[in-house]
Amino acid sequence: MKILTKWLRAYLPELSVDDLRLAEDLTLRGIAVEGIFDLGDGNGSLYEMDITTNRVDAMNHYGIAREAAAIYGVPLLPLDLALPAPQPAAASFSVKIEAEDACGRFTARVLRGITVTDSRDWFAQAEVDTYFRLLEQKKISSAVDATNFVWLAMGQPTHAFDLDKIEGGIVVRRARKGEKLKTLDGIERTLDPEDLVVADHAKPLALAGVMGGWDSMITPATKNVLVEAAWFEPMAVRRTARRHGLHTDASHRFERGADFNAAPVASALVSRILLAAGGSIEGDLVDVRVPALEARTAARKPIALALSEVQRILGTTTDADGITAATVEGVLAALGCMLAPAGAAAWSVTLPSWRLDIEREIDLIEEVARVYGYNRFANTLPAFGGGVTALSSAQAESALRETLRSAGFHEAIASTFCSASDAALTAPQPGLVVPLGNPLSEEAGVLRPSLIPGMLTMVAGNLHRDVSDVRLFELGTVFSGTTEKVDERPALAFVAAGALPEQSALHPARAVEFHDLKGVVEQVLARFQTRTVYFDRFPPEAGLNPAWLHPFRSARIVAEGTTVGWFGQLHPREAAARKLKETVLLGEIDLDRLYKLPLRKPAARELSRFQPVRRDFSLVLDESVAWEQIDRTLASLAIPEMVDWRARETFRDAKLGAREYSLLMGVTFQAADRTLREEELQAFQAQVIAAVGKAGARLRS
């Protein structure tokens, strides 16, 4: 919206600040000046303004002048409404409001013998030519310009009809089914029975509060005019405007709540300008009001306001006096409120008809703070006696992030949405995917049931950009359920491709593989207190493995007897579908299950002072025997002095049978209280050999 400071100053003769300062002070009071353009030559400045929709009253020159008057405590000139005495009318012009729910006030004034001409600077406060030139507002004709000028001056839409086109009188009513109206934009419209129209006794003349009609518009031949200034109900105007796809200055204002008492004022201003080129008024102003709508706007009940409440909410000011009764009275009176004392430092406040956004005591308190100036309040800190509690999952979350980061994974954040097909692929419960009603795109049609789709999109994005080493994780929310009830769970997903997170000029890079990812999973689980953790997988025909994983290179993660997640190599079918030639490893963990476990608290134990002894065993095994079997067998020996055993190397060679492999196993023995004797060690070794023998291993000779 464009505002001329020259025009503002015409209403504020005592305003002494310059245009820059005025702009700054208005902006700090919520009347935002976004741009200032010097018009030169004593013409002041043009402000480009951005007024929030709750302040429609300030979307015009007089409204902003009122704000400035309140800020600086200077007088605001009243609008000059003096009109010549009317000629007597044979009968008062007929106006009837049928739609009493939608039209609160309708004023009509008959002007006769006017001349439609070019606009000029008619008189003080009506410099139409100068102001339109500075605003680059197109002049059309003195009649149309008069209504536009008054709109820009004080924000009340008005309309001028060619009186000779009106049959009988005015009726404000709902349209009749099938009625037609050609509006000012030249479009012939078929009206809806819900549309609000201004009609005469025979036909609709205008879409009420939205746009006038073609047939009754002012032309150069017009001699007699009916000036309309009315108040229409916001919802009625919004519905009519929407139905016809129209958004006009008038509809903008009426939709947001016009000033109930502005109609006669605007009517007088328009009439004064039209009469400046000749003509006369016939009869008194016809002013029809609907009391129910007047009670909701201009005649609202006063609001009780107490100084103590103002101070309780607003607090301390940098000025030692703080907010006083005089501050409250000064600010609110300047904004158009009437304050009647109601006890000590309390008032009964009558609200101005143009401020429909003010309804409650708190609204008045806001006005006091706003006009007083937010930045004149002190910076204080409230006292606090309570304690601070962290989220129950906060520690676990940061342990997870730390573990993944130290394993070389960057944290990522992916879209909350995925395609229905990705959801079908990755959802733990395929039927329980939640679709959106207005998705951003087809690829984002549902709430993600898993973090895997995001991981796949991101790994593909990197690989397709020739970033070949990828290690990403995400800690986020996954969704399941129905459109009636949506469940949200926290999840952790990770993906890796390319080389391990090691960078060396001296050693070749090694590609990340299944067991690297398994190591990360083990480290994640090691942050939690667990008694049993194991990994397994189901035969593919069981249909229990996630469809996105390679059925023979993936594993289920089981902690404390519960499935907490899956990981492994991306199914080659999915890799091909996504044009991924590289091996992609990825996995997902249900954090709500993991969060049920307490975080592991490290506990120190005594370190043995006695020498540990390591013995290596070279075993030959059938390929059907997995390490886990050897591991469990050794664990079941429960030899306290056997403190560690691990697979050091597995390999196949020609000297072995076709379905055999060799396993080098290291076992460490150590006692807490003595040096182990050779006889003891030999006994332990024999126990180990016997045990692995039962599990199907033989010693390599």
Partner: protein
Amino acid sequence: MTNEVIPNLTAFDEAALGQAFATLERQARDAASALGSPEAVEAFRLHWLGRKQGLLNEVSSRWLKAAPPEAKKALGQRFNALKSAVEALLDAASGAGPSDAALAAEAIDITLPGSRRLTGAEHPITKTLNEIVSVFAALGYSVGVGPEVETDFYNFECMNFPPGHPARDTQDTLVVANQDRRPQRDRLLLRTHTSPVQMRTMEQQAPPVRIVIPGKVHRNDATDATHSPIFHQVEGLCVDTNITFSDLKGTLDHAMKALFGSSVKTRFFPSFFPFTEPSADVQISCIFCGGKGCRKCKHSGWIELLGCGMVDPAVFAFAKEKQPAYDPKKISGFAFGMGVERIAMMKYGISEIGQFYAGDMRFLGQFA
């Protein structure tokens, strides 16, 4: 080992003795300087100090025996000095390990880059969220979270959005499918702000409340350089008896100084939010130019950073239905909210908001 034979001494005067012993000592020093391995050190020891064939043994047995009695004392003193010198050379050689020459053969290129075990990066959004949260934790704020899928009631109605408010339109809000037949307040949507957690917290907890709420939110927005349908907010709520607008100012002024440096200034100006009254937008003095005016702050010297205000009594009225202590006549409070992406973009000089969600290793690696 065959020792080289020491020369016979023909004269036993001072000059002859001095020259003979100096020659031997020089030979010992030369030999010692070339010692490169423990084996060589041992050979040196045997050569000079060996019990049977060592050179010093030779000197002792041949020169001392041959010397006339008047020269024996001077010769003995020189012999002891030589022996001490050789022993010192031996001590030095065995303590120093391999010689510099031997070590030179093991030279490496120290200018090659160091081998690195790469660690992962914290996401800049997580990092920024954590920074904001810890500033408020230090002011006594606990952390709260809430669901990303919300009901119309929590997202809009109890936050005092009137029916028909534009934000409720599907043009602005992403909604779950098939909600049309449900009562308005039960309809499910993707929360458009973290504010619903204010109400969820108040329903659970009587005042005093100090809570900071980080979270992911969604709007039906087209993506451009600075807008994304997915973004993050941090919301704050403080409710107690006698919480004032000046407390709101002081709290946010303190928080902005903690986040952006103690020289940062704040200014507040009127704004409008349905759930606060009075409402304010907060600007901080430009962190790039210090307020002088630059491209980043559009030459205004100020950067708009967050919205805030005093909790609207209408919001307390909703909370009061479950917690009677939220009587707007007895308590008061303030709330504030800020966009995490915007702050992170400013702090780290990020120009495209989309980079936060693309998972590009090159982008994320910069934050390691």
